[in-house]
Every structure is written in structure tokens, then in C-alpha cells.
């Protein structure tokens, strides 16, 4: 009789369902996974070490590139940690702007997750639908920071600048004539806030569209229900946070439990799952679309009625404006010092965490009093989630690995750092 041996298979790193550069070594018994061993680090850029060699402000841009589908949330944690150590109180308007962009980022992230997750398990249309809405939100990013992805918009002490009064508009080109451009510019006539408001009016109907396609879809349910079940106890023990933890039925959300910025003034609900399977996590994230939409609307209303500073006045931390540099010696000195040396952060250590779209994203900062961090540790939610890959996938079929990678919402920028 021939000897029966397990079959070892290599998955990735160049596989369309590997979400980037995941290399999985799978041990198979027939088509059933016995063991999954993720090999990561193919996108390791030593962000933490690089941050140690640069003044504090110059590392904000690196944070965008960690989880490159939820850029501003990463910046938020980093900036919060610095502010905590400096003891800076951020102006209220800046806090509302941050919360609004955190939620826009959450929608951006979940849209890409839904697009990728759908595509991975056979729902091609989702990809096209989701990218349609992402386009509008990336225009919002561009209008406020000049960049569609890597914004570097949050700064210690507030946000880089106030929201623009005018939404940028399309111009006629070889591909779009005046009539087409007029149609495309219809919702761009007012300010940025008007454009975001218009988006929030349209968006719930789009979420309904996604749900029509997926929620009761027989194939979708066959691929997701009872796949990758995690019990609440295991989820905590495995270090899950965010939708991964809530999908298992644990009501834990930093925005409610340890509110930062102005989340305690806003009205929203936290969805939780019951079974802890892939389908529940899908439902949780879909509901987060609607809740984020609610938060954005509240922020827009507040921001329309309340004006004021978006940065603290302390020029030891925040550069002075261009105009004052032309006639004020003090401002010129501050500017020079800030850009040649940066600011020193008092000696000590701090941990700041935000409810990132993927889970708890934290920055542990150790300062020895210098103008550069002594140690930055980035606590990426995806790292803990991916480490549970073995436990979640063993006993499932090979095809389910793809569904589990999708439900974990893995992005290698943050896993490998």
C-alpha cells in the first residue's frame, strides 16, 4: 500500500488573492488545510527604525504608507501620541475635521475591502461598484490635502489647513466635452462640505445596492457562512480588535469605550455579530458603512456652523504662516528652527490608539527628550489578525483560505511595516 503523505503547497507571494505579498505555506491533506504558515516581511521597510532617524514631523508621511488604504487613520494615532507627550490641546474644529476624515477613511477602507473580498470569492461586480464610490472620497482627500492617497494632512497640533470653500471642478478635455463636464460638476458647485453632504445623501442607497447583490446571495452565503468561526474568548486571546472582534460578538470599540477627539459627542451605534464567521464580519462592516455615514453627517453639520482655528497657536510646534514670516523676525526664527531641527518632545513614553478601520492601531512612543523619537512601535491590527491565520483556516478547504484572507482585511503595508 502506498504511503499517504500530506502535501505542502506554496501560495503566493505573487497571487492575485494574496492581497499583496503574502506567502503562505500550506500543508494539505487532500484539499483540507492541516496547517497554514504565513511568511511575511516581503514588504518590510523598517518604518520604525526610519522614524528614529527623522524629526517627528517628517515621519507623518511614513504613517500614510503603512496601511495604504486607510491613510489618515494611521496618521491620527501617530499624531495623537505626539500630542499626548507634548500636552497639546487640539482646537475643537480640528477635532471635528479629524473625526470626519477618520470616518471617510473608514468608508474608503471598507469599500476596498468589500471590492477585494467580493472579487476573491467571485463577485466581480462589487469591485467596479466600490471603486465608483471610492473615487468621490479620494477627490475629497485631494481637495483637502492635494494628494489622493498619501495625505500627510494631520499634524501635531491640528490639521494642516482648513477645509476649502470651493470644491475643485473638472475642466473640458479631449475626452469630456463641455456638456459632459457640466454634468460631472453638478455636485461640485459649492464647498467641500457641500460635496461631502451630497455624498452622504447618495451613499446609503449604494450600500443597499451592495446588500442586494450579496447579503441574500446564495453563492455568497455558501462561501462565507460558517467559514473561519472564532469564538469571543479565542478572538480576545488572539489579539483581535475592530470588526474582527465585533464579528465574534464582543462589543468593543475604542470610539465608544475610550473615546478620543469628539466621538463622545456624536451619536452612532456599534454593530456586533453573533456567530463570529466570515458572513457576520461582512455584515458588521456593511453596518459600519451606514454608521460612518451618520457620523460624517453630524460632523458636516457642526463644521458648517462653527468656524475657528484648525491648528494650535504654539509656534514651537506649528510653523507660522507665510505672511507673518515676511515682517515678523520671531516668526522667521521659529520657521527656521522648526524646519532645520524640529521640536523636542519631553522625556517619557506614551501609547496612543485609535479605532482604525481594521482594528486597534496604536503607536508606542519612547522619547529621551530629543527632536527625534527614541523608539516608535507601531501596533498594527493586521499583524495580530494574520497571526491567527493558522487557527482560522485549519480544517477548512483550500478555497476557503481565500475567503479568510479577505475577511481579515489584510494589507501588507501595515503587517510588514
Amino acid at each position: 500500500m502506498p504511503e499517504i503523505r500530506n502535501y505542502t503547497m506554496n501560495f503566493g507571494p505573487q497571487h492575485p488573492a494574496a492581497h499583496g505579498v503574502l506567502r503562505l505555506v500550506l500543508e494539505l491533506d487532500g484539499e483540507v488545510i492541516q496547517r497554514a504558515d504565513p511568511h511575511i516581511g516581503l514588504l518590510h521597510r523598517a518604518t520604525e527604525k526610519l522614524a528614529e532617524t527623522k524629526p517627528y514631523n517628517q515621519s507623518i508621511g511614513y504613517m500614510d504608507r503603512l496601511d495604504y488604504v486607510s491613510m489618515m487613520s494611521n496618521e491620527h494615532a501617530y499624531v495623537l501620541a505626539i500630542e499626548k507627550m507634548l500636552g497639546v490641546e487640539v482646537p475643537l474644529r480640528a477635532q471635528y475635521i479629524r473625526v470626519m476624515f477618520d470616518e471617510i477613511t473608514r468608508i474608503l477602507n471598507h469599500l476596498l475591502w468589500l471590492a477585494g473580498h467580493g472579487l476573491d470569492i467571485g463577485a466581480m461586480t462589487m469591485f467596479l461598484y466600490c471603486f465608483r464610490e471610492r473615487e468621490d472620497l479620494m477627490d475629497v482627500y485631494e481637495a483637502v490635502s492635494g494628494a489622493r492617497l498619501h495625505a500627510t494632512y494631520y499634524r501635531p497640533g491640528g490639521v494642516y489647513r482648513d477645509l476649502p470653500d470651493r470644491m475643485p471642478q473638472y475642466e473640458p478635455s479631449k475626452w469630456h466635452n463641455q456638456k459632459a463636464v457640466d454634468r460631472m460638476n453638478e455636485n461640485r458647485q459649492g464647498s467641500l462640505l457641500d460635496f461631502i453632504w451630497d455624498f452622504t445623501e447618495r451613499f446609503p442607497a449604494h450600500v443597499d445596492e451592495y446588500e442586494t447583490l450579496l447579503t441574500d446571495n446564495r453563492i455568497w452565503k455558501q462561501r462565507t457562512v460558517d467559514i473561519g468561526i472564532v469564538s469571543p474568548e479565542r478572538a480576545r486571546n488572539l489579539g483581535f480588535t475592530g470588526p474582527m472582534l465585533r464579528g465574534s460578538g464582543v462589543e468593543w470599540d475604542l470610539r465608544k469605550k475610550q473615546p478620543y477627539e469628539v466621538y463622545d459627542r456624536l451619536d452612532f451605534d456599534i454593530p456586533v455579530g453573533t456567530n463570529g464567521d466570515t458572513y457576520d464580519r461582512y455584515l458588521v462592516r456593511i453596518e459600519e458603512f451606514r454608521q460612518s455615514n451618520r457620523i460624517i453627517r453630524q460632523c458636516v453639520e457642526w463644521l458648517r456652523n462653527n468656524h475657528g482655528a484648525v491648528m494650535v497657536e504654539d509656534h514651537k510646534i506649528v510653523p507660522p504662516d507665510r505672511k507673518s514670516m515676511k515682517h515678523d523676525m520671531e516668526a522667521l526664527i521659529h520657521h527656521f528652527k522648526l524646519f532645520t531641527e524640529g521640536f523636542c518632545v519631553p522625556e517619557g513614553q506614551a501609547y496612543a490608539a485609535v479605532e482604525h478601520p481594521k482594528g486597534e492601531f496604536g503607536i508606542y512612543l519612547v522619547s529621551d527628550g530629543a527632536n527625534k523619537p527614541y523608539r516608535v512601535k507601531i501596533r498594527a491590527p493586521g499583524f495580530a489578525h494574520l497571526s491567527a491565520m493558522d487557527e482560522m483556516s485549519s480544517g477548512h478547504m483550500l478555497a476557503d483560505v481565500v475567503a479568510i484572507i479577505g475577511t481579515q482585511d489584510i494589507v501588507f503595508g501595515e503587517v510588514d511595516r
Binding site: G41, H44, L238, Q258, T340, E341, E347, Y351, Y364, D368
Partner: protein
């Protein structure tokens, strides 16, 4: 300040429950840090997860810190052991956080693994080993995780240069990828300085 009161209660309770394991504890910036004796780490963690008063059910993060050049620019030298391993704990049921810290000497950087208490320690400990060379006793699979296959050294140590020692390129003649000594000139754009408090005010 309700938060501060809660932290003080937590600090007191830790002192009562595992007092002989604690070297020092402090509350700074609204966070409680407890420095433990390295040999007591595992037992203390066990107590922190099982005891109703603590219930630290989630291990958020484990990381190592290399204090070799700490406050070097101010002309000071670090007198404690070189490495620290820092644990961030979270209790979702009691909504509280705790930071544990143990110091280990460079000559024997060995800490007990907590993987049997929190499974999430698995990769975090592998990362700390990979980047700092701290060993975790009892970890079943302490392999490198982030660096390349066959990497030599522990790149996040302060005495490891930022540009590394080797670089990789494709060799036309040999028809394969080769490693060679790094050709990047090290440079510092903004020097590291420590200013006294109230500098320039």
C-alpha cells in the same frame, strides 16, 4: 479625573496581588507602567488574566526597546540593563489598560514566553527576537519573521546602521542574485539634539 483614580486603584491592587514581583510602578500621561522582575513575568501575567480584578484578556502588543543610546546627546549613559521588553495589556471587560516592562541584560537577553497565556504573543515575540535578538523561553517556533531568509544580525538594535551591512543585486554573469557590502554612504540630514525644557521660550 476619574481615569486617574481608576489607575491608582489598579496600581494599588497590583501592588497587593503581585507586590513582590514589582520593581517600580508609575502613572504618567494617564497610563500605568509596571516594571517587573524578569523571572516573575510569567506568573504575574497568569494572575493578570485570571484574576477578576484585572481580567486582562487581550495582549495588545509586545515590543522590545534598545536603550543603548538613551540620552546620549545629553551626555548621560544608561545605567539599567540594555534591553526592555514592553507588554501592552488590555481588558475589554473592565476597560482598562496596563503596560508591563521587564529589563534584560545584553549578555543574556532571555524572557519567559507568554504564548501559553495569550496566543497573540506568538508573532509579537518572533518580531522582538528578529529585530532585537531578545530570546523568549518556551516559545515553540522562534523563527525570524520580518527580515529576509538568511538575514544576519538584529537590525533594530541601536548599533546596527540604518543602511545595513549588505545590499542585493542581480549579477548578469552569475545569472543569480548576489549579496555585496553596502555601497550607501551614511548621512545625517538633521542631527539629533536634546534641548533643555523651556529652550527658546
Amino acid at each position: 479625573m476619574k481615569n486617574i483614580e481608576r489607575l491608582q486603584t489598579l496600581k494599588r491592587r497590583i501592588g497587593e496581588a503581585v507586590g513582590n514581583a514589582v520593581k517600580a510602578s508609575s502613572i504618567e500621561l494617564g497610563e500605568l507602567t509596571v516594571d517587573l522582575k524578569v523571572e516573575t513575568l510569567h506568573d504575574t501575567c497568569k494572575k493578570l488574566i485570571t484574576d477578576e480584578n484585572f481580567a486582562f484578556d487581550t495582549l495588545i502588543d509586545v515590543c522590545a526597546v534598545d536603550y543603548l543610546h538613551y540620552r546620549q546627546e545629553a551626555g548621560e549613559t544608561w545605567d539599567k540593563p540594555r534591553f526592555a521588553v514592553v507588554y501592552h495589556l488590555l481588558s475589554t471587560s473592565r476597560n482598562q489598560r496596563l503596560r508591563l516592562r521587564v529589563f534584560v541584560e545584553e549578555s543574556s537577553p532571555m524572557v519567559d514566553s507568554v504564548i501559553d497565556i495569550w496566543k497573540s504573543a506568538d508573532w509579537f515575540e518572533r518580531e522582538a527576537f528578529d529585530l532585537y535578538g531578545v530570546l523568549f523561553k518556551g516559545h515553540p517556533d522562534l523563527r525570524r519573521i520580518l527580515t529576509d531568509y538568511g538575514f544576519v544580525g538584529h537590525p533594530f538594535r541601536k548599533d546596527f546602521p540604518i543602511s545595513g551591512y549588505v545590499e542585493m543585486r542581480y549579477d548578469e554573469e552569475k545569472g543569480r542574485v548576489v549579496y555585496q557590502p553596502v555601497s550607501i554612504e551614511p548621512r545625517v540630514l538633521v542631527p539629533r539634539v536634546i534641548r533643555e525644557e523651556g529652550y527658546g521660550a
